[in-house]
């Protein structure tokens, strides 16, 4: 115990961190094999790929997007409850624009719709960011406002109706195919990649982790936390808006009431499963993607097994509480104490508790 611990590199640690979400995902996927023998089969039909795994990726794409934004918000020690409303507003605005356009199928119309949706998202995110970073309202409360009002706004935009549209280019975003793959998968993959690049090949990731990990020290180091925090809420809203476009495009309709309902909770769950602590600090984009896929696979599995799909919620409840218990320092301390009692004489050092965090 006296020699310097040969700590594995941070990269090895992140890999280690990703190990458990990846393992859970693998087990879930394999479990499906028992019920659906051709679960992993992927067919090429009419130049499009089909299969259960493709479906999981496809249906999980909006959740991945929302979770990406949520990851950065949570990394700063915040939370964004308003993403579900943003999903609904973005979809509603885009569909309204397209349905009122003279030529719904033209590329210009669709680009306009996308622009309006994303532009509005920036404003919504800015509102959250200002409330949190400048006014100093607790994130959960600040974003609650938009969570409540946003659904009303979305319904106001759609006039309480479900706006259905027919627009080939718009359909591509959520329901179309490109290079044999559903475009939604490619889009969310691209955003995930961009987020990873943006945070890891600039200093953004480091600064965010610093702000979330120790706000006082970050101020004394000269980090402009206020700007950064504002920025992540804008990013989160943008991701949510993209997800909103995807959802509405997939069904060619905007439903102000149900689009993105409870997606904020799934996103928080995905982030937490992915190994990012709700207390802020270290975050993992890869972990979040895995987390989102776990949730989607869970839904799919429950569906294929034939259990009423609504009961997925029960599983989610257990996942939430298990993950939070594992992340709770108090719970770990209790576990460690018990473990240390069993192997008398071995004092749990900080290093061993880190390992236990993953192993518990």
């Amino acid at each position: 115990m006296t020699t310097a611990p040969t700590t594995p590199g941070a990269r090895a640690v992140t890999r280690y961190r990703l190990f458990w979400p990846a393992a859970v995902l693998a087990v879930l996927l394999l479990a499906n094999l028992a019920f659906t023998p051709d679960f992993f089969a992927v067919h090429l039909k009419d130049g499009h790929l089909y299969g259960s795994t493709i479906d999981i990726l496809h249906f999980g794409a909006p959740l991945i997007l929302v979770s990406l934004g949520m990851t950065l918000v949570i990394a700063t020690g915040g939370i964004d409850l308003s993403v579900g409303s943003t999903v609904a507003i973005a979809g509603a605005l885009a569909c309204l624009h397209i349905s009122e356009a003279a030529d719904p199928a033209s590329l210009g119309t669709v680009l306009g719709a996308v622009g309006i949706a994303l532009g509005t998202a920036v404003l919504l995110g800015l509102a959250n960011g200002v409330l949190v970073a400048r006014v100093g309202v607790q994130p959960i409360i600040a974003t609650l406002i938009l969570m409540v009002a946003g659904r009303g706004v979305a319904q106001l935009i759609t006039d309480g109706q479900i706006i259905t549209i027919t627009s080939e280019p718009y359909k591509l975003i959520g329901g179309g195919y490109w290079l044999a793959m559903p475009f939604a998968i490619l889009l969310s993959g691209l955003v995930a990649l961009l987020t990873a690049l943006l945070t890891r090949s600039t200093a953004l990731g480091l600064l965010l982790e610093s702000v979330g990990g120790n706000p006082v020290a970050s101020r004394l180091v000269g980090i402009r936390a206020m700007r950064l925090v504002g920025l992540v809420y804008v990013f989160s809203a943008l991701c949510a808006a993209l997800a909103g476009l995807m959802v509405s495009s997939n069904v060619s309709a905007a439903d102000g009431n149900n689009a993105g309902l409870w997606i904020e909770l799934d996103a928080i769950l995905a982030v937490v499963i992915g190994g990012t602590s709700l207390n802020g600090g270290r975050f993992s984009i890869g972990g979040t993607v895995l987390g989102a896929l776990i949730i989607q696979t869970l839904s799919t599995t429950v569906y294929t097994i034939g259990i009423p799909p609504e009961t997925t919620l029960v599983f989610k409840a257990f996942v939430v509480i298990t993950v939070c218990l594992i992340q709770s320092p108090n719970f770990r301390a209790k576990l460690a104490r018990r473990g240390a009692g069993r192997r008398a004489g071995v004092r749990p050092s900080p290093a061993t508790t880190t390992n236990r965090e993953v192993g518990a």
């Binding site: 611990p5 590199g9 600039t202 101020r219 004394l220 180091v221």
Partner: protein, 507 residues
């Protein structure tokens, strides 16, 4: 007249992982006395109080209260046994009324329901016995901190009138408020309450206390009558004066200090002050000069430094950097002007524990560059490895999490963080506190070398030997005032600095 002590602590021992905070400390408190507990950082003062109030259980020794051995398991048990504490940060509920704060947890009840009228009546009575003029039904936070503190004392005394611990109650009070507090304390003393008083203000200690117990490095230094120990002796007992021994540890004699090359000050502060933290002070630091700040804990040495870094906002005064007046409104401003600040609280104000050594080292430089201009990974690795080597940070792995490092190595990481920004002025607040002797000597040597190469250094430490060994000049603080600036010309002895601290005037 020889009384029985109301509280007696024998051979108390308390260990934290890696540190012995209290090592066989004895302590006695008699009824009807005001007793000062004295000691510097790490002396074990706060640990002793926490043991007495049941926040930390003791690892050894015994506590005897009114002739009975007691085991104090928690704050509630301490209160029930007759020990109440009033902290510097008023630990009452600001949203409740004064009366409620006095009685919460033991409200008078009738038919199982709280009897508000009775509660107000009794609260008014209690407040009147201490000759305070307070409306007890007003919310606590409509009153000043001083009054809130008095309310806390009223509560503490009413809960259990035997032993009252006042932990730095005067830190945020002005002169009149302190006088009011002392009046109340004397009245309680005359009623037979034993009061344990902790304060960093020597004048206050000598004004109010009958006896004092001095702790140093977790051990009992001695118990004295205030009238028999003068201030100089007290300070030297608190700080200790085994000078020769320490000098040898650091490797030979004091370093030869060549006078700084330039005469122009890099930074000049004039009349810089902040209400409630430090009185107006002047200070000039030249490039290549080490200026030490000496003073007891709570004397305002940290607060003075924080103003120079923009970490706290100044109320008045000016700062000139290279002759130009500069408004330092945030740490970011200060950093842009080449000022760096290593806080004394490494964990809470310095490092980001869950980031790696490399990330912590590049953090300040990266923050200055902004997020869009990242240091490449290669550059980061190079910087980290270079400074890990230069400062001998162990383990020498840049990817180790910083929270797993020892205190000395964490301090070096913090130093490395600022050194790579190539600062013109380096402010070090207690850089050698709580680290082992070897690392201490290394950091001292580093500071001297940096000054040699032209960096201005503001060096804050509770250890006079260290300050004298490194500094060209020493600013002495006492009770939040800069009382003297002494030239360290080889004639300056720790005794003279001690005398200055103790008397509050240049000796």
């Amino acid at each position: 007249m020889r009384q029985q002590p109301v509280l007696e602590v024998r051979g108390i021992r308390k260990e934290f992982p890696g540190v012995v905070a209290l090592d066989g400390v004895d302590f006695r408190l008699f009824p009807g006395e005001v007793h000062a507990l004295m000691g510097e950082n790490g002396a074990g003062k706060s640990t002793l109080i926490k043991v007495l109030t049941g926040v930390h259980p003791a690892d050894g020794g015994e506590v005897v209260l009114a002739g009975q051995r007691v085991r104090i398991a928690g704050p509630l048990q301490a209160q029930q046994a007759g020990i109440s504490t009033v902290y510097q940060e008023v630990n009452l509920c600001p949203n409740l009324s004064v009366a409620e704060n006095i009685f919460i947890g033991r409200e008078p009840r009738r038919l199982g329901l709280i009897d508000w009228a009775e509660m107000r009546r009794r609260a008014t009575e209690l407040v009147c016995t201490l000759e305070l003029d307070i409306d007890v039904s007003a919310p606590l936070d409509s009153y000043s901190i001083a009054v809130q503190q008095l309310v806390a004392i009223v509560r503490a005394v009413d809960v259990s009138a035997k032993v009252l611990i006042l932990d730095e109650p005067t830190s945020s009070l002005d002169r009149d408020e302190v006088r009011q507090l002392f009046t109340v304390m004397r009245r309680l003393r005359d009623q037979g309450v034993a009061i344990l008083f902790v304060s960093h203000f020597l004048d206050q200690i000598y004004e109010i206390c009958d006896r004092m117990t001095v702790l140093r490095n977790g051990r009992l230094e001695g118990e004295y009558l205030t009238s028999e120990l003068n201030q100089v002796e007290l300070v030297s007992r608190m700080i200790g004066s085994e000078l020769a021994g320490l000098d040898q540890l650091a490797g030979g004699k004091r370093r030869e200090r060549s006078a700084p090359a330039t005469d122009r000050a890099f930074l000049e502060a004039e009349g810089l002050a902040r209400q409630g933290s430090v009185e107006p002070y002047d200070l000039a630091i030249r490039s290549g000069e080490v200026v030490g700040l000496a003073g007891l804990l709570g004397s305002g040495r940290t607060e003075a430094a924080r103003l120079l870094f923009g970490a706290d906002h100044k109320d008045r005064g000016t700062v000139r950097i290279n002759g130009t007046e500069t408004d330092l409104r945030s740490p970011r401003d200060a950093i842009a002007h080449g000022i760096a600040f290593c806080s004394e609280n490494r964990k809470t104000e310095g490092l980001v524990g869950e980031l790696t050594v490399r990330e912590n080292i590049v953090l300040a430089l990266q923050a200055a560059r902004g997020w869009a201009r990242p240091l490449s990974r290669t550059a980061q690795d190079k910087l980290a490895l270079r400074w890990i080597g230069a400062l001998d940070i162990r383990p020498g792995n840049p990817e180790a999490l910083v929270r797993n490092l020892s205190g000395g190595n964490q301090q070096k990481v913090l130093l490395a963080r600022w050194l790579i920004t190539d600062p013109k002025l380096l402010i070090l607040d207690e850089p050698t506190r709580g680290i082992d002797v070897g690392a201490k000597a290394e950091i001292q040597k580093l500071v001297a070398d940096l000054a040699e190469k032209g960096m201005a250094v503001l060096f804050i430490s509770a250890e006079l030997e260290e300050v004298l060994r490194l500094s060209h000049r020493v600013g002495v603080l006492r009770d939040r005032r800069m009382v003297a600036q002494l030239r360290n010309d080889g004639e300056l002895t720790p005794e003279r600095v001690l005398a200055t601290i103790a008397s509050g005037a240049e000796q």
